[in-house]
Symmetry: D2
Subunit: 381 residues, 4 copies
């Protein structure tokens, strides 16, 4: 049986999702076979070219039409954040399953409406998932298992940084990601959202409050096309401290100004039974310190997460044959297809995405109020 | 225009090649569009199941039939080494382009016949390539560029090890890879072939002689299916020293008995202008020492080979979004398609594969004669 | 000519300083020859045993007597922080040079009085230095040079963590370091002081404000000797964000609850011209990213800081022969001896120590007020 | 009670030994207190200056006089290899304990005579030790313990490289280390001796045969002082393969031409129960793979060898406070003093040194005979 996918957007995320939809059915033994049915973009010519290159069977230029098509079962949203809510809610109401890129939305209001729409649609058997793809790095999925199994005990510290450097040069142009009306925020929503989600996912806990500062190092940048400089209206960097429900403390940093760090998402958990550490630039490795090891040869183990018993790995290559960044999307798609086929709730849900938005909102609120401690609304979750 | 591919074999290598054929046309802008036309396997049922899973349009059970089909332009050989020569030569004579997995063959005679067949077929515009896929790790392709550009000067040392550990347990069964009649040799042909090819590729030089030892640590293993133990007739490990034409010296080690090393191919080159180092378990990194750096902050640079200017990377993701092991095959397929479309010689050629076989033969010869220095036939190349 | 040293305290820091005083004159060509003259401790028997073991010529049991001795030129203070002010001020007023362990004092008032005393004594040619020994890690001294030379450009980010794990076990006893009246604070003053000093030293800038949280994970611990549990009155962990005068942002974390991290002081600076990174557990390495490198092989260089041209190294061993933790004290002593002989101001000064205390005080203040942003008094510096 | 030491030579090794003799009695609780009594060098002026700088009480200009002095109990030989035999044998016959730097001698004949002299002297309670200091790196001492405890099972592979780069520049002058009459050999005796000793020490086994090649990349170098170029008469690099008594195979490489490798001694052991790996440039770390770990989080552990339970560490600093290269000599001296006080045999003995020489002789023999397999004389050990 098939699962007909319609995707909106075909830039960076669209290409990554396409690779996932194309690959998943040939690597995993899926209960439903995804079909790359329709690609949607505003320009017919550009969308057609993209569909041809990325392997989509048909093209649509209006997302409103897409979500109503009978030959589409699932809508995959790969657009900037300012259009997520409108598309996702329409699709859910039309009875389509939805996969939506992160962040869920640019505002808390929109995110909340999306979570409500997902909740209503769920009653009708419709599934919604948010694309925090890093949950599907095998090393991080293994980390979650180890935490859930109590292997690092009670967690005391979470330390997460997501560092990139593509804005260091002040002549980099003022793209949509640097404009609040399109992107919502800067490093915070783009990078910070990932590490907030991971902190909550890996610990199985929620962030209850934050203290934050944000900064914009370069206030003006050239407008693409050339009509002089324009104002950067998002943060270049966001730093915040937090507490989790368990009493653990956490530190976060997201920036696009860390020279030499290309895509360095690092996360470390320290528990009273051990520690875990991860670096996305060495995505196949999980570092694990186990206090239960005998005293002599104790230390951080570099686990090469490529064994058949590791998450997602039995479908791939023999041990030591490493995976890449794009595989996270293939795993995401696999899990979503299973959830749809088995009528279970995919994870992370829109509610999870909303909870991340609440943390981000608290961060912005704290940063706007001299870093004052700002509780995170738990939303009755 | 299409390039219709018929593939023989569908185990580990077949799955990896399938992923490559499936992905390459959607990532790279290819001059010919590969079509996954026919999968060939002896059992119709098994081949059909594999074709369905891996995405091949049709099935053939006799490679002799496959190589004669009008609707096949290229034969991709993913079988054990003992059948390479027969299939490849037949395919070339039938005017099909050939991609053949390494090692080229199990004997020097077969390899030589294959190189001759490729040479003859070339006159008719038919292309042949051997699948030393590690030449297409972007970090190693970059290493080759740096060597060719003189960035490490005159090379003094090559140091290459390929370590795995899947035979450490003596209860691991006696599979085809442990039987000389199928596999030709053990770690030597399977792993050693890769590092010999890389040594010659990266330096742009040839190995002129070797001194070697081989060993089989576990002489008997359980026969799969259960009729008691059978003799292991290949090496478990092969170690050899060599000299290159330039006067550089080299050290090689290939083993399946290095506990904890899953797929650790390491290679280091030391030149009088700098050094390069690589580890396949961290496949996105190339370590580069440049003696031209100013004295103060000199050291090995960890180059994350994910920039648009790096080999193959402009077609993939933004900087820092890492690739995996399987991408080497996608790059291999890309380069082969270009060679066919542009009527140029693909690299590595069957002649390159033959030259590797000559080195492996010299290694076995030396090991059989108390490690005596054994010149490598240069074959008039 | 000799420089007669009297040292107060002979525990961990006393042993480290002894090793430094003993070694420095034999490794460096010093303008004054230090003599290990007098060791001072309250118990005559214990002090005598320590003097014999550590190599001090005589013993004194009252620091008040020590600071008045004519045969002592310099007083080296290795006691807990609650006695620093009294001893240091008395020694300075008695015309003795002073080397004082960090933190300068347990309270801002005491630290301020010490800085004033040092300033007054300076007029009479008396020198005072605070023992932020990590400034003398060769790799960090080299980092400072590179920053000062503009090699990483304008600094945007400072990221510093100092992680230990010796308090993870709740049965660890309630030693003096866990009691506010002796230690002043916990991880903050012990570990945080180091990273605050390094942040200011490496950037050549001052922290202008902070937002902080502190926590005590284990509130009661067994009293040594055994009269039941007692209250831990210091922080187990301190996390804070800051801004520097230049507009750079900074993140700090100090903890004794990071399982598996034994003495991991890490610091990273990101500038618009490059980055620097350091890890005390690999103390001989400085990682340097230079945006001026050509695009191809750019990356973090692992500089092994053991070359003759590197700070302090010309006196030691050939390249690649690494130094340890204790060498920082030998370098500290060397620099202090030079400052005394050449009548220059040693660095870091008591004023530098006071400035660190002001940051720590602001951290405690912010933590006590819901992480509210708290400016750091710049003290007219 | 004292142990009066007379040291011959005061260059690199002499400075390192001085630091050890000076430090050991203040760090370790020794049964005999070493006294730095006499320094011996041919030039009275130079020796006096060195004695003053390094902390020796008296000076002697003739080693023949030194070994006869009543106020000397132990002779520490830090001269080039061509004088080891004469001095050591004379000292032993004069009833002095001897510590001799490696390699034991430049010729097998001399080494054999030294071992005989040590054996004879032993009957009279006189001790002799050879300075393979890397046995006293705590991480390597721990590695030996783990091997002896069976933690890595039956050893299959030894892989050892010792890479330096100080000869890469062809204008580096023709010092004594590059002349056969003084140094015996080049990288082989200087660096190769260390890794041969470590291979035998760590495994508790002997090398039974080798196949080797050596090379001299730069045949002429400027004579210091300036009378034109002179011939380099030693090897620049030595590579060899070996077998151990147990059936394990081994690979060795020693070179001074590995650009960017300053003092990189690496050794790895692969056993059927696990593996161990070490790198001298990160001397505080031992990497340990334990096949007994549960399948999920298995990997190489990075053991920071600074815990009180690790070899030599209880006398030093708290966990995580790392040691340097020079500490190996302090540990060497400690162990020798204990052996003398307790009338036990110090290790490594002159017989161990002789056995290393036999391996080096076999290496040179094999290299001179087209790498032919060359058994190592086991000398009736």
């Amino acid at each position: 049986m098939g699962l007909r996918v319609g995707m909106v957007g075909y830039a960076f995320m669209g290409a990554a999702h396409s690779q996932a939809w194309r690959t998943a059915p040939h690597v995993f033994d899926l209960p439903l076979r995804p079909e790359m049915a329709v690609l949607c973009g505003r320009s017919a010519a550009a969308a057609s070219a993209a569909a041809s290159r990325l392997g989509w069977a048909a093209v649509e230029t209006d997302w409103r039409a897409l979500v109503k098509r009978d030959d589409v079962d699932l809508v995959d949203i790969c657009t900037p954040g300012d259009s997520h809510a409108e598309i996702a809610i329409a699709a859910l109401r039309a009875g389509k399953h939805v996969l939506c890129e992160k962040p869920l939305a640019n505002t808390l209001e929109e995110a909340s409406a999306m979570a409500s729409a997902a909740s209503e649609a769920r009653a009708g058997g419709v599934r919604a998932m948010i694309g925090f793809n890093y949950r599907r790095v095998p090393a991080l999925a293994l980390a979650r298992q180890l935490v859930a199994d109590g292997r690092i005990g009670r967690i005391r510290h979470v330390r997460a940084t997501y560092l990139q450097d593509w804005l260091v040069d002040p002549s980099f142009p003022l793209t949509w990601r640097l404009q609040r009306q399109h992107a919502g925020s800067g490093a915070l929503g783009d990078l910070g959202a990932h590490i907030v989600d991971l902190a909550q996912y890996l610990t199985g806990d929620l962030i209850t409050g934050v203290s934050a500062l944000t900064t914009t190092f370069v206030g003006e940048r050239p407008v693409p096309g050339g009509s002089g400089p324009g104002a950067v209206t998002v943060d270049d960097a966001a730093l915040f401290l937090g507490r989790l429900g368990s009493g653990a403390v956490a530190s976060f940093e997201a920036t696009r100004f860390a020279s030499g760090r290309k895509n360095q998402l690092r996360v470390e958990l320290n528990g009273d039974g051990g520690s875990l550490a991860f670096d996305l630039e060495r995505n196949n490795e999980l570092w694990f310190n186990d206090r239960a090891d005998s005293a002599g040869p104790q230390g951080f183990r570099c686990v090469l997460v490529t064994e058949p018993g590791h998450p997602y790995l039995s479908a791939w290559w023999p041990p030591g044959h490493v995976l890449g960044w794009e595989h996270t999307f293939t795993h995401e798609v696999r899990d979503l297809v299973y959830a749809i086929a088995e009528a279970t709730d995919p994870s992370p849900s829109f509610a999870d995405g909303l909870q991340v938005q609440r943390v981000l909102a608290a961060v912005e609120d704290s940063a706007a109020h001299d870093s004052a401690w700002t509780p995170v609304d738990q939303g009755g979750l």
